[in-house]
């Protein structure tokens, strides 16, 4: 287990470094000059001198590598720099907005887990029953709807018709439900299928027969043997989705006019605000890698074969 941990931590650090490279260099490949964009957006007539002055001040004239080193040096001290446009501290701005997006994404994740585990397990155990067939059909319908359309339907029914939850905006926990539900409904079908298939596959395993031969109760077989076996693929795949969930939250934020990170990033993209974009990619990257790391550890705790892999018996 220790060796497994060390290996995973090392590869995590490597991945993070890769993210920082991508965040820094890829943005600079985009063929729009941030200084020009700044002048254009603020409708200031640009002169060569004033543009050069800003370039000098921002350090854009220095060689790329030293710009990168300088940025990384500050990042290690948790200083993400100041926005090129608003002159506000990027770290603070990002984090304060990130929590909103994170709230939506994690509530959505909670919905996904509750929905897919209950429906997935039930439809596997009651295979080919009416319940199984009904969910299979409705899953396809829901999965084929784009999330913004799903959002409109939910807003119309739950918020407008029934008046149960707020229409849009941000502030209370009620504001959290519809956006997260929109996100969750979009991806739950995938997990319902994943859990159902994995459980049914395992029913054919000899160890399930042996469990029956020992007289275990069916619900114990489901919990100890079938569900446990679906956990590693489920966790891995959920962790991979987390990035998508944050991205999806951005779209949902716009539909529900929530002041999350989505709008902020969209504006910064328009302004080619390097500092903000770099910080954002690094933050999301860090988050994504950390979640996958946790998922890997959990898988290794569940399945001893994973933590022994490559260690040699």
């Amino acid at each position: 287990m220790q060796r497994f941990l060390v290996r995973r931590i090392l590869s995590m650090i490597l991945a993070l470094w890769g993210v920082s490279l991508v965040a820094f260099f890829l943005i600079r490949v985009i063929p729009v000059d941030p200084v020009e964009a700044y002048f254009a957006i603020n409708q200031i007539p640009a002169s060569k001198e004033s543009m050069d002055a800003i370039r000098e001040k921002q350090g854009f004239n220095q060689p790329l590598l030293s710009q990168y080193a300088n940025w990384m040096w500050h990042v290690f001290q948790l200083d993400f720099g100041k926005s090129f446009v608003s002159k506000l501290d990027v770290g603070k701005e990002l984090i304060s907005r990130f929590w909103i997006t994170f709230g939506i994404a994690s509530t959505a994740l909670l919905f996904v887990v509750i929905l897919s585990v209950t429906i997935g397990v039930l439809s596997a155990v009651k295979q080919n029953s009416l319940f199984d067939r009904l969910t299979r059909t409705s899953i396809f319908t829901i999965a084929s709807m784009p999330s913004f359309w799903l959002a409109f339907i939910l807003i119309y029914i739950v918020a407008l018709k029934w008046g149960l939850l707020p229409l849009m905006g941000w502030g209370t926990w009620q504001h959290l439900i519809l956006p997260s539900l929109t996100l969750a409904l979009g991806i739950s079908p995938y997990y319902i299928r994943l859990i159902r298939t994995s459980m049914i596959e395992q029913m054919q395993q000899p160890y399930v027969l042996y469990a029956r031969a020992r007289g275990l109760k069916e619900n114990v077989i489901v919990r100890h043997h079938l569900f446990r076996g679906t956990l590693p693929p489920l966790l891995t795949s959920l962790a991979m989705t987390c990035g998508g969930l944050l991205g999806g939250a951005v779209i949902v934020e716009i539909v529900f006019t929530i002041p999350g990170i989505g709008r902020y990033i969209l504006d910064s993209m328009g302004a080619r605000d390097y500092v903000v974009l770099q910080g954002f990619i690094l933050l999301i990257g860090f988050f994504y890698i950390a979640i996958n790391f946790v998922a890997d550890i959990m898988c290794a705790m569940i399945d001893p074969r994973i933590r022994l892999k490559g260690e040699g018996k």
């Binding site: 031969a213 020992r214 018996k313």
Partner: protein, 285 residues
């Protein structure tokens, strides 16, 4: 104890229904060991899983299986579950595949004990430890081990220790020593015999290996293609087999050839009906 009467088993293969066990009758008296020997595909394993009612949904069964006078085929799912592992325990072949690779030996042991007795995890663990020490298995740390960390022989011994932990009145062993080396085979057979004699358990042992059966069985059933060929006291059947197939089986043992060679060479059709030649000794003639 166990009485099987005119048992036939049918399985669905693709579109047709195949009869894998044909009109078989035998009994396992209390405290006795009955062995079934036959090549693979003779239907011997089918008999084991049918007694335990393990493939209820996918098999059609006719005839009677009486356990302590009660019909097993008439029992419902939950009644059958309560018997399985408690009154009738199964020892299976290929232990490497039978244990769940994600659960430790302790998890397997504890869930087996808790399936039939309402006790806490801690008490179940204590029982598991007692059981392991009775079978001279290294106790404390073996419970934390995972199946892939142990040898097939070790897993088979654990399987036996687990099977007898509820002191079943009938032990069904389906190829308990197949795929194990000779020394381990002997050790496992000794342990089984020792337990059987000490507890007075009835036992049904199934194997393709006549040597295994010869070592344990009081009565011997020879099967081929779902039919009984010869059935009688083991000493008589082994000493002077009447049916040519049994003779061929014994010859395999003597000549050290393989069972596959026998299957290839023995081509006589299974004709005639089962006749009681001596009291308690049937042969197909």
């Amino acid at each position: 104890m166990l009485e099987v009467k005119n048992l036939s088993v049918f399985v669905q293969r693709d579109t047709e229904e195949i009869q894998v066990v044909q009109d078989i009758s035998f009994q396992v008296p209390k405290g006795k060991i009955v062995g079934i020997v036959g090549e693979s595909g003779s239907g011997k394993s089918m008999i084991c899983t049918t007694i335990l009612q393990l493939f209820r949904e996918s098999r059609r069964v006719s005839g009677k299986v009486l356990f302590q006078g009660e019909s097993l085929l008439a029992k419902n799912k939950e009644e059958m579950r309560k018997l399985r592992g408690k009154e009738i325990a199964l020892i299976m072949q290929n232990p490497m595949a039978m244990f769940n690779p994600m659960l430790s030996i302790g998890d397997h042991f504890i869930e087996t004990i808790q399936a039939h007795v309402n006790i806490s995890k801690k008490e179940a663990k204590q029982k598991a430890l007692e059981q392991l020490s009775r079978y001279q298995l290294p106790e404390e740390n073996i419970l934390q081990k995972y199946p892939h960390e142990l040898s097939g022989g070790m897993l088979q011994r654990i399987m036996i220790a687990m099977a007898v932990s509820h002191r079943p009145s009938l032990l069904v062993a389906d190829e308990p020593t197949t795929a194990l080396d000779t020394m381990t085979q002997l050790r496992i057979l000794d342990e089984l015999l020792e337990y059987q004699q000490e507890a007075g358990t009835s036992m049904l042992i199934v194997s393709h290996d006549l040597g295994v059966i010869a070592k344990l069985a009081d009565d011997l059933i020879v099967m081929r293609r779902g039919l009984i060929v010869e059935y009688g006291p083991a000493s008589l059947v082994l000493e002077q087999p009447l049916h040519s197939y049994t003779q061929a089986l014994l010859a395999v043992k003597k000549e050290n050839s393989t069972l596959e060679q026998l299957v290839d060479h023995y081509e006589e059709p299974m004709l005639g009906s089962l006749v009681e030649w001596k009291p308690g000794y049937w042969v197909r003639q």
